[in-house]
């Protein structure tokens, strides 16, 4: 843009312009000098800057390699830790299963024991109830028998004493004397 503007300004100001033999290609000497200069510059660059670049690249390569190694080590550590966690998780699961199984066993034993105790208590209560009922029935029967016996004996005594007049007394006495006299 500046070159074009300068050319316009120069044209306008009447300065004499130079023309090349081709509007696109430079002149031959320019190419030769430019090429030599470029070669010199590239050589200098290769000679002076190349080792620096090579060293920097090696350092960078080393740094990247270190980072890769560190990352690999970290990954290994993470993997190991993950394995440990998984193993621990497995242990926790096993312990949980064991505790649950133990709790189930104990609960089952408690249920069985409680049921047995309950059955025993029920059996004892049944037995006690049966015994109480039998005792009550026996007591009632005994009391009834005793009452009947008492009433019967009272009735017998009243009957006998009521019928014991003087003649009966004398009969009893004579009967006793004869019976004793007959025995020897």
């Amino acid at each position: 843009m500046k070159l074009f503007s300068g050319m316009l300004v120069a044209t306008e100001e009447g300065v004499e312009a130079t023309e090349s033999h081709h509007w696109l290609w430079p002149e031959g000497y320019e190419i030769a000098f430019g090429g030599i200069a470029s070669i010199i510059i590239f050589a200098l660059l290769f000679w002076k800057v190349g080792p620096l670049v090579k060293k920097a690249m090696a350092a960078r390569t080393q740094r990247v390699q270190d980072e890769l190694d560190t990352a690999a080590a970290d990954q290994s550590a993470a993997d190991a830790e993950a394995q440990q966690i998984l193993a621990a998780k497995g242990d926790i699961g096993a312990e949980r299963s064991r505790l649950l199984a133990d709790a189930d066993t104990r609960a089952e034993a408690l249920v069985v024991e409680g049921r047995a105790r309950l059955d025993q208590e029920i059996a004892e209560l049944h037995a006690k109830a049966d015994a109480d009922m039998a005792a009550v029935m026996n007591r009632g029967s005994d009391e009834l028998r005793a009452e009947i016996a008492r009433l019967a004996s009272e009735a017998a005594e009243q009957l006998v004493t009521g019928g014991l007049d003087e003649a009966a007394h004398q009969d009893l006495i004579e009967s006793f004397i004869q019976r004793v006299g007959a025995s020897s």
């Binding site: 016996a149 017998a156 006998v160 004493t161 009893l172 006495i173 009967s175 004397i177 019976r179 004793v180």
Partner: protein, 175 residues
């Protein structure tokens, strides 16, 4: 009181009655008094009450038996009561009766009846008991309404029981 003391008192009663020539009568009266003493709670309590002075108890005996028993009997019982042995009166008298019967080579036969026996019945019963036990017996009769009827005879350790009371008790026991 121990057995020796009872025997001592019995011997004393026996010797006094024999010395006075009233052994049979005193023996019989003492026996009846002993049975009355056993059957009467009131008499037993009065004669064994330590709160009553011995002289008062002797006065009770004399009031009770005065005119109903020979003076010897009253004096002998009064002597035992005065010595504070009222509780042992039946045992002392029974031992004295045994001694008296033993002196005549007789066994004592205690006969309990609900009604009094006639003399004829007593004679036949004496002979029957002698026949049954093989010993001549001295009959001591007691009218005891609790036998209800019949006779209950005890000769030593032998009991011949034909009382209505015993039959009723046996019936009650079976029932």
């Amino acid at each position: 009181m121990n057995d020796g003391q009872i025997d001592g008192y019995a011997r004393a009663l026996f010797e006094v009655a024999r010395a006075e020539g009233t052994l049979d009568e005193v023996e019989d009266e003492l026996f009846r008094f002993a049975r009355s003493y056993e059957s009467s709670d009131e008499l037993r309590n009065a004669l064994t009450d330590d709160a009553i002075p011995p002289s008062k108890r002797q006065a009770i005996v004399e009031d009770l038996l005065g005119g109903k028993a020979t003076p010897s009997t009253v004096q002998l019982i009064s002597m035992v009561v005065g010595s504070g042995r009222s509780g042992d009166l039946p045992a002392i008298i029974d031992r004295m009766v045994e001694r008296a019967a033993g002196a005549k080579d007789l066994a004592v036969a205690e006969v309990r009846t609900a009604v009094a026996l006639t003399d004829d019945q007593q004679g036949r019963l004496r002979a029957a008991l002698a026949n049954a036990t093989g010993k001549a017996v001295s009959l001591k009769t007691v009218v005891d309404p609790s036998v209800l009827g019949g006779i209950r005879a005890t000769v030593g350790d032998t009991v011949i029981d034909g009382s209505v009371r015993t039959h009723l008790d046996q019936l009650k026991s079976r029932l």
